[in-house]
């Protein structure tokens, strides 16, 4: 790194072209990709059911449960902010739709629409409060996290009289909504949950926005240095509020999956999942400080987490040690990730 003092370069190193390999290695997601391959090979060896095609569907589904939310969380982190309310917001979305449809006896699609509006408002509120106060997003969204957690329980109890939303499985529009948000289909021997398809779509969309559009450049800019970004004309406030709204919209989508998968939502759910989303984004190469990362990386991070979570079960290891195995595997994956990135930086 510091050895550049010796021979002065003949060409300006800022414009010198690097080899394809070096360019690939410098992508944020490469380290995690290697980590994912290591985890995959490891479990292919130790867990026989891992080799069956039928289990692939389950693993992809588990990963999608994390991965769908990891997309906006990664974008937000690249934009330099956190959202600790993302986990319980998913529950809020599901409860809103379920409770609204039930209480007003409407077609469930009405509840779905109301929920979307509510989630956009929550996202906008997070972003607006952050921009207005200038407080760290860690604090602002921690506040929203507690507020939503309390509202989830309190409002549900007032409206339904219990702590879970009422079942809406026999109401109009349920089957069509279920087809969109929580159905499954056969692909050969593979049982594919629709959420997995949506996940792939969202990752592609997120990557396109991030790498190919003006907004994508803005996201990198506000995360790297907000003041500098403002100075060159990037609408910092709008970008950040927009990112929080994006998290809200994705939380809405995940909440709809939660609701239409079971027809009821337990009001205490979602606590702690916000960290899993952040972990997926970070394992996938997002920096905690912002300005660097990738959406594809977040998907790989989710995949690592999903494979490890279920891999421990597939391997049939003693359940008492589950969390310990999980932690060790995640550490291994991140260390491999780090090692690869170090090598890449050396080139």
């Amino acid at each position: 790194m510091a050895s550049t003092l010796t021979a002065p370069p003949t060409v300006d190193d800022r414009v010198s072209s690097r080899s394809l390999g070096a360019r690939l290695l410098s992508r944020p997601e490469v380290g995690s990709l290697v980590g994912a391959v290591v985890v995959l090979v490891f479990f292919l060896i130790v867990a026989p059911p891992f080799r069956e095609l039928a289990t692939t569907g389950t693993i992809l589904y588990q990963s999608a449960l994390i991965g769908v939310m990891a997309v906006p969380v990664a974008l937000l982190m690249i934009g330099g902010e956190f959202d600790l309310s993302a986990g319980v917001a998913v529950t809020t979305a599901g409860l809103t739709a379920g409770l609204f449809s039930y209480q007003f006896s409407t077609n469930v699609w009405v509840g779905v629409a109301v929920s979307l509006v509510v989630m956009i408002c929550i996202g906008a509120f997070n972003g607006w409060l952050l921009m207005r106060t200038g407080l760290p997003s860690f604090l602002v969204t921690l506040g929203t996290f507690f507020i939503l957690q309390g509202l989830n329980l309190g409002v549900t109890r007032v409206l339904s009289g219990t702590v879970s939303s009422n079942s809406i499985s026999d109401m109009d529009g349920f089957s069509s909504a279920q087809a969109v948000f929580a159905s499954e289909f056969k692909l050969g021997p593979l049982n594919v949950k629709i959420l997995v398809v949506w996940w792939i779509v969202f990752v592609a969309l997120g990557t396109w926005v991030l790498l190919k559009t003006k907004v994508g450049n803005w996201i990198f800019a506000v995360g790297g240095d907000a003041a500098a970004a403002r100075a060159v004309g990037v609408p910092v406030k709008r970008v950040k509020i927009g990112l929080f709204i994006t998290v809200g919209v994705f939380a809405w989508f995940s909440g709809m999956h939660l609701l239409f998968n079971q027809a009821v939502v337990q009001s205490g759910e979602g606590v702690g999942k916000e960290f899993i989303y952040i972990i997926a984004a970070v394992v996938g190469g997002c920096l905690l400080t912002g300005g660097y990362g990738s959406v594809v990386g977040s998907a790989i991070g989710a995949l690592i987490f999903g494979m490890t979570q279920l891999g421990v079960v597939y391997a049939g290891w003693n359940a008492d040690w589950f969390k310990a195995f999980l932690g060790v595997m995640l550490l291994l994956a991140t260390i491999v990730n780090l090692a690869v990135k170090r090598r890449a930086d050396l080139r």
């Binding site: 509006v117 337990q266 049939g316």
Partner: protein, 331 residues
């Protein structure tokens, strides 16, 4: 805020309202809710007393909802002001007991799921002249803590009942699904199952993550295809297990501890085979009612012995008797 944003929000809200008015569901929903005639009896004319009801419940658990409803029903009947609170951590729950002592409540109902953390403060309340009853957890600890009575089930015995049921049904291999790691009562249930049905394996899931719980159970069923019975320790997890069985293409059956409204429906439709019922409503009701009896007439329930509210089985044979109460949210 920019003007167009306000406009967009207003338009959105209006659209939703219009859609809501024009899109009513022809089935389900609140419109079909039966008005369950609650027991609106007369209130006792005894002086108003204040009872603190302190549990180890995590917020948002359907089981504790039933306990609370029972406690509230008794409180309404006995002219009791009920202070319901809960904290999953032992130390936090012990602190709540201390705040009840500070408030000089007239009675204390408490769960002793973490007896070691609770013992000192509960004893202090009892020694200070506050009548104490224990419920749900702590069948070994309530007497030492100075409680007048105990209402609940022995988790180990409940587990054994489930284990015996598995043997009786001719199950070959079962998995016992625990939704909270390190929970003494839940571990005791699985241990009880193992006592009477040795070929059982434990599986941990994260109780606050329902889809994740579902995939974890699916993967277990895919990993070990010889599993023909899934035993969950809470009603919501049984319903997730039904989905897991389907996802895994397994033919395993599902049995569970504890019930709620949706679970009763699942037993009726045959998705879930049976539930071990410990009558949470009764636990809450008896705890409050016994404090009232003690205060007004010096009675104790149980005669120094634990009062067992379970285990009883709900299955297809007797589900009809429970169904209408479950619809009202009290079973």
């Amino acid at each position: 805020m920019v003007r167009w944003q306000k406009k967009a929000v207003a338009t959105g809200a209006a659209l939703v309202l219009v859609a809501a008015l024009g899109a009513c569901s022809s089935s389900g929903g609140k419109q079909e809710e039966e008005s369950s005639g609650g027991a609106a009896g007369n209130v006792a004319d005894t002086p108003r007393m204040k009872v603190a009801f302190i549990t180890h419940a995590a917020p948002g658990d359907t089981f504790w909802d039933l306990v609370r409803k029972g406690a509230e029903a008794a409180a309404a009947k006995d002219n009791v002001e009920l202070q319901y609170s809960g904290a999953p951590e032992g130390a936090d729950q012990a602190n709540l007991v201390q705040t009840a002592i500070d408030q000089k409540v007239d009675g204390l109902a408490v769960t002793l799921a973490k007896p070691d953390a609770m013992q000192a403060n509960v004893k202090k309340a009892a020694d200070g002249g506050i009548p104490v009853v224990a419920l749900n957890g702590g069948i070994e600890a309530w007497q030492a803590a100075g409680a007048l009575g105990y209402f609940g089930q022995d988790e180990r015995i409940a587990g054994q009942a489930a284990g015996a049921k598995l043997t009786e049904l001719g199950a070959k291999k079962a998995v016992c699904v625990i939704q909270e790691q390190g929970h003494v009562g839940l571990e005791a249930r699985c241990q009880g199952v193992k006592d009477k049905f040795p070929n059982v394996e434990k599986l941990y899931i994260t109780g606050t993550d329902m889809p994740g719980s579902q995939t974890t159970m699916t993967s277990k069923l895919q990993q070990d295809k010889s599993i023909d019975y899934v035993v969950t320790l809470g009603a919501p997890f049984a319903l997730a297990a039904v989905k897991s069985v389907k996802d895994a293409g397994s033919s395993a059956k599902v049995g569970t501890f504890d019930t709620n409204k949706d679970l009763i429906g699942a037993i009726k439709s045959g998705d879930v085979q049976w539930a071990v019922d410990q009558q949470p409503y009764l636990q809450g009701y008896l705890a409050v009612d016994s404090l009232w009896l003690y205060k007004t007439n010096g009675n104790t329930i149980g005669g120094g012995q634990p009062t067992l509210t379970g285990p009883a089985f709900i299955d297809k044979g007797n589900v009809a008797a429970v169904e209408k109460f479950a619809a009202g949210g009290t079973r």
